[in-house]
C-alpha cells in the first residue's frame, strides 16, 4: 500500500477534512457577509463530494471517519432543550398560536410534497418517500420505512429540503420582514428541520430555540399524520 492509498483509506483523513472544510467554509461565509448562498453546510458538502469523486473514494470510507461528527447529532438534539427553556416565558405566552401553526404547517408539509409529486407523475415509492421530507432525518427515515418508501432516499430529500430552506425561503421571509424570533424560527424548524435550526441559531438564539421546538414537534405529529393521511386518501 502506497502512502497515498493509506491516506485515502484512513478514517482520520476524512474526519480531519470534514472539520477543516466546515471551518474554512464558515470563514468564507463571513467574508461573504453571511450571504445565504454561501451556506457553510452546502459549500462543505459540495467540496467534499467533489473531493470524493476526484479521488474515487467511497461514501463508506468517508463515513468511517465522518461518523464521529455525525454521532454528535444525537446529543446536540438533546441540548436543544436548553435554549428552548431559556425562552419559556415567550413559549407559554404564544402556546396556542404555536400549536395551531404546527398543525397547519405539519399537514401542509406532507400534502404539498405528495401532491406536487403526483402532478409530476412521480412513482408511488418516491411519493411515499416525499411525505416525511420536512422532518428531522431519523424520524423521516422511520416513517418512510414504515409506509413503504425508501429510507436512505428519504434522508437525502430531507437534507436537500433543509438546504433549500436556508438558501431560498429563509431569505424570503427576512426580506418580507416576517423575521421575529418566533415566526421565522418556528416556521424554519417546521419547513427545514435541523439544518434550518442550525441556520436559525446563526440569526439569533431565540429563533434557534423556536426552530428546535418546531423541529421536534413536527417530527412527532408527522409520524402520526402521515399514516393517517395515507389511510384517508387510500394512496
Amino acid at each position: 500500500m502506497t502512502i497515498w492509498q493509506f491516506i485515502l483509506q484512513s478514517p482520520l483523513t476524512w474526519l480531519f477534512i470534514t472539520l477543516l472544510t466546515f471551518r474554512g467554509m464558515v470563514t468564507l461565509n463571513r467574508h461573504c457577509k453571511g450571504h445565504p448562498l454561501a451556506n457553510p453546510i452546502i459549500l462543505s458538502n459540495g467540496f467534499i463530494i467533489t473531493l470524493l469523486l476526484a479521488t474515487g473514494t467511497s461514501y463508506t470510507t468517508y463515513f468511517s471517519g465522518a461518523q464521529y461528527v455525525h454521532f454528535l447529532l444525537g446529543p446536540a438534539t438533546v441540548a436543544l432543550a436548553v435554549p428552548l427553556y431559556a425562552q419559556l416565558p415567550r413559549l407559554q405566552k404564544a402556546l396556542g398560536p404555536l400549536l395551531i401553526a404546527l398543525l397547519i404547517g405539519g399537514s401542509v408539509g406532507i400534502i404539498s410534497g405528495v401532491g406536487s409529486g403526483m402532478l409530476f407523475g412521480l412513482d408511488r415509492e418516491l411519493l411515499l418517500t416525499l411525505a416525511p421530507r420536512s422532518v428531522t432525518t431519523p424520524i423521516a427515515m422511520g416513517i418512510a420505512e414504515h409506509i413503504g418508501g425508501v429510507p436512505q432516499l428519504a434522508s437525502v430529500l430531507v437534507i436537500l429540503t433543509g438546504m433549500l430552506a436556508c438558501v431560498l425561503s429563509v431569505p424570503l421571509l427576512q426580506r418580507w420582514k416576517w423575521d421575529s424570533d418566533i415566526v421565522l424560527g418556528f416556521s424554519t424548524g417546521i419547513a427545514g428541520h435541523g439544518i434550518g435550526t442550525a441556520r436559525a441559531f446563526q440569526i439569533s438564539a431565540g429563533a434557534g430555540a423556536f426552530a428546535g421546538l418546531a423541529m421536534g414537534l413536527n417530527g412527532v405529529i408527522t409520524a402520526v399524520l402521515v399514516p393517517f393521511l395515507l389511510w384517508l386518501t387510500k394512496l
Binding site: H70, P97, T188
Partner: protein, 124 residues
C-alpha cells in the same frame, strides 16, 4: 464540559431506551430533548455548566449535518434522472410549508396579542 457531555448522553440514552421499550416512532434524541426540557422546568433553572457550554455547541450545529449531507453522493444518478420533477416538487413543497406556517403563525399571534390587550384593557 465533561458534565455537559454526561447529561446530554444520559438523556439521549434514556430517550433511546424509552423509545425502544414503548415502540414509539419518535427517535431517542427527540425524547431526550423533551425529558431534559421537563427536568429544567421542574428544576426551574439551567445548571451553569449547561448554560455555558450548550450555546457554544449550537454555534457549530451546522457541522454535524455535513457527513449526512455528503450521503447525497450515493443518489447522484437518481437526482440526475429525475432532476426537474424532483427539484420543482421540493421547491413547491418547501415554499408551501414554510409560508403556510409563518403566515398562519403571524396572523394567529397578532390576533392573540389583540385579544390579550383587549382583556387587559377591559380590566383596567
Amino acid at each position: 464540559m465533561l458534565e455537559t457531555l454526561i447529561v446530554l448522553v444520559a438523556y439521549q440514552w434514556f430517550g433511546e431506551v424509552v423509545s425502544h421499550a414503548l415502540g414509539l416512532p419518535i427517535p431517542g434524541p427527540v425524547l431526550g430533548m423533551l425529558f431534559l426540557f421537563l427536568t429544567l422546568m421542574i428544576r426551574r433553572g439551567i445548571p451553569h455548566f449547561l448554560g455555558e457550554n450548550v450555546p457554544k455547541l449550537m454555534g457549530w450545529l451546522g457541522l454535524l449535518f455535513v457527513p449526512a449531507g455528503v450521503g447525497v453522493i450515493q443518489y447522484l444518478d437518481l437526482l440526475e434522472r429525475a432532476f426537474w420533477p424532483l427539484t420543482i416538487t421540493l421547491l413547491v413543497a418547501l415554499f408551501a410549508t414554510h409560508l403556510a406556517t409563518a403566515g398562519s403563525l403571524k396572523l394567529l399571534l397578532a390576533r392573540h396579542r389583540l385579544r390579550r390587550l383587549r382583556k387587559w384593557g377591559g380590566k383596567a
